[in-house]
Amino acid sequence: MRATFTDAWLAYRLRWKRRRILLRIWRNRKQIERRSDRTKQIMPGAILAFSTVRNEMLRLPHFLDYYRKLGVAHFLIVDNASTDGTADFLTKQSDVSLWTTSHSYKLSRFGMDWLGWLQWQYGSGHWCLTVDADELLVYPQSDNRDLQALTAHLDSQGLPTFGALMLDMYPQGPLTNVAYTHRQDPVTALGWFDGSGYRHRVHPVFGNQWIQGGVRDRVFFQADPDRAPSLNKTPLVKWHWRNVYVTSTHHMLPRRLNQVFDWPSKTKMTGALLHTKFLPDIAARSSEELDRQQHFENSALYTGYYRNLIAGPDLWTDRSVAYKGWQQLVELGLITPGDWR
């Protein structure tokens, strides 16, 4: 009885939270300025990608190629005051619509307000992929079946969301020694990851799994594991105008969208986001972060973390696993094909 009451109260509070976020998205809608609008190209049923970027010239060419090949029809990107020509590059792409802003990334809930406004306008009824430029989605069969096939399967199963685990990729040797050339697949430069050691628990509020662990947890957050980055994400969603992302793409509202897993032991299909954060620009980015203090939740707490990153540590151990493809991730139990064969 009491549990029912608590749950109803939580549901009520979260409904208001969602409305507040929607209102906030609407209030902040003028923070972004239209730079090139090609949204007329969007056909019904097209798969859309949403992203906020800042100085991503290193990753963007490969990023766009990668997702084009996976079947993303249109990219809706917000550029947060890049200085390396990112905006010009994106304007030239025929399938990218670009908005720019110089407002605070942190105050816009890490870009979620800006993207939320774009999703609200253009996302309804489409499968929407919300990823950062350093995230590459892999899923079972991703080398020979595109997102159209994946989303059609999810539709037929009546699943509105697709969950993915963030997998931090790192090089062998110090971070400062990575050799990476333009348009190269970042995974060839950052070929390693932690094969296990991901901690799972059910998030008390959002009802999804809260996953922490991986290399950043192992190396940088031993002293304060509670602060270690969350690795559970829900990047692919059949959008409805009511939906909102709460913190980055980790949690969503309404809560049922977070149910990317079956209770108790059935296994829905999930994927992974290969996180290519540790490319050679990591030191420069980290020192910039230190100046801007724009990172998550508690910037002060992350100071030590960024200092460590600037020093270019070696994250590799002889227990690291070399990335070989989605089959390997299935074998390791990091992703699962569900019943998609």
């Binding site: 159209q148 993915a164 685990l165 901690r199 799972h200 699962t336």
Partner: protein, 567 residues
């Protein structure tokens, strides 16, 4: 005798057109039914595109909703048209727009000609087959289903529930024995005419209009009534997931489809270019007549269903997070936990590792760090030895370790001084084998050389924690395999206990023990324990120790000598 095709189409008209052409070029008249929900422009364009084919006709359009009568009505009409329009048709093959012929039509025809007057229709009685999903098998035929399952789920469920509560049952028409099976069949003209011209057809139709998913039972049931010879199998390869939805075939399935030897497969992903380019493809003439064999396909997809519904035991991940309290086994593989052994035998870990092929960890849950087997800072699966990270989710640490090392047997030491938060898991996991020598915590205290008065508090704490642990292990709902000895009991006969321990790890590969590990010198321990008692701290978990007992234990631990008789 010629083969005619009835094709049901409701989407992907470009692909459907391609398929119609396949059938038509193979010399089959095609009767197409297009769902009446399809808008007129699309329909007209589809009809116009197929204008050039003489033997392709369109039948009266019905509204086909999944699980409802419309599909059967559409099939009946189309079959009727086909049989009247094309006198020469001796057999009718039911297909859909997303059915792809895997082998040339001529091979299918040759196959059919080899078994004249045979109906190929999968049909089984509901009592014998567990195919159905959602718990409705027999009830499909005894309840009424006027509401569409897909669109009006609540009404559907509510009405089913209502009928179950009231206890309404429909009478199955006399002379019918309900059968079910794949909706894709190939029937002879004789059978079809008998079904369509059955004097009781109106009665049967009225009955089936309220049966759930009649397209899987109407022809299946009536064929049993009229057919002369039934081969109960479908010539169309189709697999279903655990919700009863068809699996879709993609480009990467090209090889298994080729090897299946089936004539037609469904459903095909509309963008599966490779499949549409490769099929139909003739089989090797030299190999003789290839018969359909779906073994490989069945294995792959049955495994998928099992993986989806059961998952992999011991795996905790994004989409698999079983409730530990209800799980049968918690960790991925059996493992052994030993408490007190390393206090009694200083070289116990190395000894155990030599005796068995297991990985023997030290105190994985020690306060300072996780002592992995090879003293590694980072163990397999990149598990860190940091105590902080481990204790942050102690159960997760153990399940992760057991998952990544499930190819090798794992043992670890445990003790009352360690982090106790995995206590519950150790007691409740069917995979856990827990060996405890209770009271062995007194040995390091005794060996430390400090007086009973100094260690009294520490001893009390350890005893309290060990007692808690034992209580948890002995809970009525605990599933672990337990072997609990007091120190005194153990010293009675260490060899037998250690032999059992090795046997359990090694299974049939275990061998008789040679030398036992070296035991610490316990002389003086009884006195020490007595002093603890004198301080008011009764070490009740050790059992009753006496000086002689320890001496006897050392004797017993020598290898036993057996007299081997000579002839």
């Amino acid at each position: 005798m010629s083969l005619g095709v009835v094709m049901l189409v409701h989407t992907d008209f470009d692909r459907a057109e391609l398929m119609v052409r396949h059938w038509a070029e193979g010399g089959c008249p095609v009767m197409i039914h297009v769902d009446s929900d399809v808008d007129d422009t699309t329909y007209d364009r589809f009809v116009a595109n197929l204008d050039d084919l003489a033997d392709v006709r369109f039948s009266t359009r019905h509204r086909c909703e999944w699980g409802m009568w419309g599909l059967v009505a559409a099939t009946q009409d189309a079959v009727q048209h086909l049989l009247t329009d094309f006198e020469q048709v001796g057999r009718v093959f039911l297909a859909s727009g997303s059915c792809l012929p895997l082998r040339p039509i001529s091979e299918l025809r040759a196959f059919l000609d080899a078994s004249p007057q045979t109906d190929f229709i999968e049909s089984a009685t509901t009592a014998d087959v567990p195919w159905t999903v959602g718990g409705l098998d027999r009830e499909r035929f005894t309840l009424r289903f006027p509401f569409a399952w897909k669109r009006r789920r609540r009404l559907f469920d509510g009405y089913v529930r209502l009928q179950q509560i009231i206890g309404i049952k429909r009478r199955i028409p006399k002379g019918l024995m309900p059968h079910m099976g794949s909706q894709w069949w190939c029937l002879t003209r004789t059978t079809l005419e008998a079904i369509l011209n059955d004097p009781n057809r109106r009665r049967y139709d009225r009955y089936f209009q309220r049966v759930w998913i009649p397209d899987e039972s109407y022809f299946q049931t009536l064929a049993r009534k009229h057919a002369a010879r039934i081969q109960s199998r479908s010539l169309t390869l189709s697999k279903f997931d655990f919700q009863g939805k068809p699996h879709i075939f993609y480009d990467d399935h090209v090889e298994i489809l080729r090897r299946s030897g089936c004539f037609v497969a469904r459903k095909i992903w509309p963008n599966a270019q490779v499949l549409y380019e490769n099929f139909p493809c003739a089989t090797d003439k030299a190999a003789g007549a290839v018969r359909p064999s779906t073994g490989t396909v069945d294995r792959i997809f049955d495994k998928a269903v099992e993986r989806r519904t059961r998952g992999r035991a011991g795996l905790y991940m994004h989409s698999r997070f079983p409730n530990m309290e209800k799980a049968n086994g918690i960790a991925a593989a059996p493992f052994s936990v030993m408490q007190g052994f390393d206090a009694l035998f200083p070289g116990f870990q190395n000894w155990l590792a030599l005796q068995t092929e297991a990985t023997v960890h030290g105190h994985l849950y020690a306060k300072d760090k996780a002592h992995f087997a090879d003293g590694a800072e980072v163990f397999r699966g990149a598990l860190s030895d940091s105590a902080r990270l481990r204790d942050y989710n102690a159960q997760g640490f153990l399940t992760n370790l057991m998952w990544t090392t499930r190819d090798q047997y794992q043992c670890f030491m445990f003790g009352p001084a360690d982090t106790q938060s995995i206590r519950w898991l150790l007691a409740h996991d069917t995979n856990a084998r827990v060996w405890v020598i209770s009271g062995a915590w007194s040995i390091p205290l005794f060996l430390s050389g400090r007086s009973a008065a100094e260690v009294r508090t520490e001893a009390a704490r350890l005893q309290r924690r060990e007692n808690q642990f034992l209580k948890t292990l002995r809970a009525p709902d605990a599933h672990a395999r337990l072997h609990i000895y007091t120190l005194a009991d153990f010293l009675e006969n260490p060899r037998d206990v250690l032999q059992m321990l090795i046997d359990q790890i090694g299974g049939h590969k275990a061998h008789a023990l040679g030398q036992l590990p070296e035991m610490v010198d316990l002389s003086g321990l009884p006195v020490f324990l007595q002093e603890l008692k004198n301080q008011g701290m009764h070490p009740f978990l050790t059992g009753h120790l006496s000086e002689e007992m320890h001496r006897r234990a050392t004797v017993v631990s020598e290898p036993r000598s057996y007299v081997v008789g000579h002839k």
